[in-house]
Point group: C2
Chain length 483, copies 2
């Protein structure tokens, strides 16, 4: 058991901050009560601090919070909630603020509760591979911490340096390795949650298998902070996997892609990524980044494959791909011969950031589709969008291993057109039996479309749960469900 | 997409059954209303049928249900619940009745609702590897059905021929392969549930990644039928894994066992079982079955290892174990050279059934423990039980990969002593931060001990959820939570 306390000095409010100019527009009495219960250095109403907390990474309109509360312990989070509730106030929870659905962007009049100071790694079972952390620990900090002891935390996403582990759980984050390790939900053994009634609900299970009644923590994973605030987590780890092997494959059609995925999942248990890119995506990526074309011939589909293992998998990967070539499951394939080569192969997939910037203002989708519907969905959607919006670019890629499809479409100069594109795509997703978000969540931006993905009974049940846990509607109101 | 309907003729009630002698002891008007809404052939009050539904596989005292309802569709399950609720009746849900915690054994006056006739396999996405089934499909039927198409359903347990897939979800079943594939929870993509208010709640998600709000299906997985009746499921599959490799390892202490597990998890991604047996267990198994001792020397601990892969893993297994021998992580090891040899190695572990019978009346535990506490827990508990109950035998084994420890202790001639043993073990589990059930569940038999595993806040939240979903207390009352 090792215990660490990582303190981020940058998070200290400036001198006198917390008293500062006092609140801008909300209840003075609540502010004074919070100062009394938590201490003045837990609060700030400075304009610059408020501005820094006015928006997450999404395109939701910026709104500065009334003020910011930064508790330093789970107990302080609960006390802050208790206070705000008793005064009839409203709280927006803020983690690393890297969300893309507007869930952490304040709504008018909300108090921002930031978890940045809950940043302790509390316990580490090095024999069993479990770690107990506070919600505000950044993902990359956790990854590095456990790697130093020969363990590996498999969740990974581009925002790893900024996003916090509590936010990863609240949004059930995904990323590129879900095909092997599952989403954040599968990494969580236990949670502690501050409830809107001001109590701490302890569900700090530490064992892998637990069948002692209703698994309550599941309610809070992916609930985007609407039922309670995740303050502590018990996470499971996997042993360090130091060797990765990479390959790029070309396919003639989607059926080849699904057959290849099935073949790889069976023959390569170390398979950790299977990223699919349609030709329009790789063409645009090559054009934008100047990357060389992957093969002499262009193909309709490409799959970027990665394995993680203690030993080098590339011989097995070559053998499996050679057989796949013979069996006409792939049209061409290249296995990376060096780290630099692997980096080159990832270049197309990692052009996403530049493509996002180039197509602004854009519509970016992260829908989920049943595998048997994906090929026809992409074909129909490509034709529909090309006909309706011939001046925009429409690029398809995704994590085929888990049915998650990204569509990047833009630019669109006005909000009404953007809304049309979204409605068109989400309705088609609903017709195909898919879901409107596979990893970015609903936040405030997708609440109007939620009924396309969830049944009337589910929406009613979610509202009933919201009423049960947060009857006074203190917490993250307007996220997932309409305000 | 393939669709099948498996009909089990044995499930038809006899002629005139359903009318028969009419109900034995409960409300005539409710019985008549059920006959009107569902049809006479959906009900039975025959003494022989009632007797067949009087107990699950546990030691809970037999109680014949007032009568039996066997709906043939999800709609009929919901209608039956609606009827019973409107008359103030009580329902116990029955699947394959293989549970070991008494959850499916009726309580006095309950009507048994059997899911045996909901046995259709409704849809099969062969490209993506998902299957849609009704709750009453036996686990083995599902396994065989998907194997015929090159897919594999990884959940497996001894009761596979009798247990039903809906019951596997309601109890979050585990088994021997959790270290690789997770419990039943990880196999479920979507559910449809009949609620006590008589409605069907559809959560039939078909995609692997779905972040569209609260994941409501999780509430019903492992809730042992207390919140609703699972009637349909969408399950995910893995590609067929046709080759298994088996090894038996001997270790000098528990630390070697955890180091070996970590080494194997890293170097053998196909690792599917890691079954730990303490020496007292293997000695008793050898004595009872006449199996040869695994090695010339006796060792404190043995691990039975299995991998599942498309290709033969035994060369890799041999390499990893040779290195482990060199590094003194194992004391001795043997890799099976044939299927017959593998069967011999499994012999010790599979002696459990005979040991259970030999030690009757026994106390059988399936507790979960944090890995760092397991060695001391076993040492302390062995000493404590040997001192208190010197005439009984106490055997330890478990699924080390997931912290699940079995303890088999007996015989005990009277109920009071059995109760003492249980209290002693469960209190020690609570002190070690473990859980009182890792796979068998709470049912009616473990409700008195639940507060040792769940916090006061969790118990209150479970009661609040029960009140939300089942305010009139129609369904599986007294399971998990006290009546």
């Amino acid at each position: 058991m090792r215990v660490a306390k990582v303190t981020n000095e940058k998070l200290e409010f400036n001198n006198a901050a917390g008293q500062g100019d006092g609140p801008a527009s909300t209840d003075d009495a609540l502010y004074r009560t919070l100062v009394e219960r938590l201490g003045a250095d837990r609060l700030s109403s400075d304009a610059s601090v408020r501005d820094a907390h006015a928006s997450d990474w999404s395109d939701a309109p910026r709104v500065a919070p009334a003020w910011i509360v930064m508790p330093r312990s789970p107990q302080e989070v609960a006390a802050a909630l208790d206070c705000v509730r008793s005064f009839g106030g409203h709280v927006v929870v803020q983690g690393g603020m890297t969300g893309l659905a507007g869930g952490a962007t304040p709504r008018e009049g909300e108090i921002a509760l930031s978890l940045a100071r809950l940043d302790a790694i509390e316990a580490f079972d090095e024999a069993g591979g479990t770690v107990t952390v506070q919600a505000g620990v950044p993902l990359a900090t956790l990854q590095q911490y456990v790697e130093a002891a020969g363990w590996f935390f498999p969740l990974d996403l581009g925002a790893r340096g900024s996003c916090q582990i509590g936010g990863n759980a609240a949004t059930n984050a995904g990323g590129n390795r879900v095909v092997r390790f599952g989403t954040m939900r599968e990494q969580v053994l236990g949670l502690e949650v501050a409830l809107p009634d001001g109590t701490l609900l302890s569900m700090m299970n530490r064992v892998q298998k637990n069948t002692t009644g209703i698994d309550l923590k599941q309610l809070f994973i992916g609930a985007e902070g609407t039922l309670g605030i995740i303050v502590r987590l018990v996470l499971k780890l996997v042993p360090a996997l130091e060797r990765s092997s990479t390959a790029l494959c070309a396919m003639r059609d989607f059926e080849q892609a699904t057959r290849l995925l099935k073949r790889l999942r069976a023959g390569l248990p170390g398979l950790s990524s299977f990223e699919l890119m349609w030709q329009d995506f790789t063409d645009a990526a090559a054009q934008l980044t100047g990357a060389r074309a992957p093969f002499d011939t262009r193909y309709p589909l490409y799959a970027l494959i990665e394995t993680l293992n203690a030993d080098d998998d590339s011989a097995v990967l070559e053998r499996v791909l050679t057989r796949a070539l013979e069996d006409e499951i792939v049209a061409d394939a290249v296995v990376a011969q060096s780290l630099e080569h692997a980096r080159q192969l990832w270049q197309y997939r990692e052009a996403v950031g530049e493509l996002l910037a180039a197509l602004k203002p854009h519509a970016a989708f992260d829908v989920g589709l049943p595998m048997e519907k994906m090929a026809s969905f992409v074909a129909n959607m490509r034709a529909t969008l090309a006909a309706r919006y011939p001046d925009s670019t429409h690029l398809f890629f995704g994590h085929l291993g888990d049915g998650n499809l990204h569509l990047l479409s833009g630019p669109y100069r006005d909000a009404a057109t953007l809304h049309d594109v979204e409605t068109c795509v989400y309705r088609a997703v609903a017709r195909a039996g898919g879901c409107i978000s596979g990893e970015h969540g609903i936040g405030v931006l997708k609440t109007p479309y939620l009924p396309l993905s969830r049944s009337a009974g589910e929406l009613a049940t979610m509202r009933a749960l919201k009423a049960l846990f947060d009857p006074q509607r203190v917490l993250n109101v307007g996220r997932i469900l309409d305000a």
